[in-house]
Amino acid sequence: MANVLINAPKTARRGETIELKALILHPMETGFRPGANGTIIPRNIIQDFTASWNGVEIFRMRMSPAIAANPYVSFCAVASESGVVRLRWSGDNGFAVEESVTVTVT
């Protein structure tokens, strides 16, 4: 089972607006729900999602307990130069995942 799904075009024309999609498996436990024994299940959410293109941040998203499990994010960016798009998720309990895709701009 993949933990992360990413959909980005492999190639794009210079100046073209491209859509990037990313889904990560995560329970997004709210911290408000009682468990089977009646005690509250501790909060366990992703708090930050960022995307950078050749090291320059192009998208940032702050998540809250209201975000559903397995958050799916779709956003657009202008393809200005060939390079690496790095996606990073971080959150409670030291959660940190990083994935990257390469987009060739012609």
Binding site: A2, I6, K21, N70
Partner: protein, 419 residues
């Protein structure tokens, strides 16, 4: 003129003075529109509970084609004719059968207009609209596309089309089934269909595959299905849930390609089950809300939007009850009892409704889920501990028995309604 008016007013006053009495004497009229599991059951049981009622069943088609077991038709295990029923049995039981469409409902005047020009007056109207497809919900998928990528979610010509496509497919082909997010008709049916198609492929085209692209992460009777698939069809069925990119976002009928957010799948046979809403009749009667479905109170299934109109079956928002033939059948009886009570001046009894759902993963491999429901705090809720499901660990004898019980349920239910 004045004399006639006085006579008319006099009659009205008498009727208002003693409505229960007049109705108990056989004057009450109930019109049922829609002759599927919900509507036909209700019409039949209205005559059984209150033989003096004038009951009219309005249904466009002369022949009803039932959905339960239609997945076996797709697998080539059953002729479509065994799914088909006429309305002669209902007529013999005293129901007036009108083979025509309803074209308008006037809730204030309590009348239904029919396509043949007749205007039917009613004391109570029951609508069982079934489902319609939301042709705008999935880009690329419209009525024309359904001729290339059948939904087969209303039994009949579409069922046979999917069957023919499977027969024509090469060995080694890919069958893709696209499953929508809930609510849709019959929650476990997409997975029964995957099983039945896998049965056909295993026996006739063993190098082929079934790919299920799902818009959700879990489904009805999932552990039993997963067990059946590993018992019967290892490596033949692949299920892609929402969190693995299973949500189909568009289809291309020209190339039989299904796009998800993260992938593209080229099918040899594509079965697209589109998002759904209550049938057109629900909008005609003004009983559907913004969700596309019909809110009802849980005792008599009376619309919360239109007093005097009852809504049954897949179209209704029936709380915890699944959209299934067995639910519609139980609701038809409960609604008939409530209407008979009300028209006789008796207080309606809170019903207990049983919905049973049989699944055939193969001709001799059946399992079931039964739920019991009752009105509770304004909606239908499941009675805890009253229902149950087949055991996950079971021997082949029990699975084979359940397959026979499934056939028994179908014969008994359709016999009770149409026989």
């Amino acid at each position: 003129m004045s004399t006639r008016r006085r006579t008319f007013l006099g009659l009205t006053a008498a009727a208002l003075a003693a409505p229960a009495l007049v109705r108990a004497q056989g004057a009450a009229k109930v019109v049922v529109v829609g002759g599927g599991f919900g509507g036909a059951t209700c019409a039949r049981f209205l005559k059984r509970f209150a033989p003096a009622l004038a009951v009219t069943l309005v249904e466009r088609q002369k022949t009803y084609t039932a959905c339960p077991f239609s997945n076996e038709v797709i697998a080539g295990l059953r002729p479509l004719e065994r799914q088909q029923f006429g309305y002669d049995g209902l007529a013999r039981s005293g129901v007036t059968v009108a083979t025509t469409a309803a074209t308008a409902v006037d809730p204030a005047a309590r009348t239904v207009m029919l396509a043949d020009g007749t205007r039917l007056a009613y004391d109570r109207l029951v609508v069982a609209p079934g489902i319609d497809f939301d042709w705008t919900a999935l880009p690329g998928y419209d009525e024309k596309a359904a001729e290339r990528l059948p939904h087969a979610w209303k039994a009949g010509a579409q069922t046979l089309l999917l069957r023919r496509q499977l027969e024509a497919m090469r060995d080694g082909g890919l069958v893709v089934i696209a499953v929508p997010a809930p609510p849709y008709r019959c929650p476990p049916a997409p997975y029964e269909r995957a099983s039945q198609i896998a049965w056909y492929l295993k026996n006739s085209k063993p190098r082929s595959k079934v790919l299920v692209l799902d818009a959700k992460d879990s489904f009805s009777q999932q552990p039993l299905f997963r067990r059946a698939w590993s018992d019967l069809y290892p490596d033949l069925i692949e299920w892609v849930p929402l969190s693995q990119g299973g949500n189909v976002t568009s289809v291309d009928p020209a190339t039989l390609t299904l796009e998800t957010d993260f992938d593209s799948h080229k099918a040899d046979v594509a079965n697209v089950i589109p998002p759904q809403k209550a049938g057109a009749l629900a909008r005609l009667a003004g009983v559907a809300d913004r969700t596309g479905w019909c809110p009802v109170e849980p005792t008599a299934f009376e619309s919360t939007l239109q007093p005097g109109i009852h809504v049954l079956g897949d179209a209704a928002l029936a709380g915890a009850m699944p959209k299934a033939a067995s639910s519609a059948n139980a609701q038809g009886k409960a609604c008939a009892a409530a209407i008979a009570d009300r028209l006789a001046g008796r207080p309606p009894q809170a019903p207990r409704l049983v919905s049973g759902c049989y699944t055939l993963a193969a001709p001799d491999y059946g399992f079931s889920l039964v739920g019991v429901y009752r009105p509770d705090k304004g909606e239908l809720r499941e009675v805890p501990g009253a229902g149950g499901a087949s055991p996950l660990d079971s021997d082949p004898v029990l699975r084979a028995q359940e397959a026979r019980y499934a056939e028994g349920w179908f014969r008994a239910t359709t016999g009770e309604i149409f026989g």
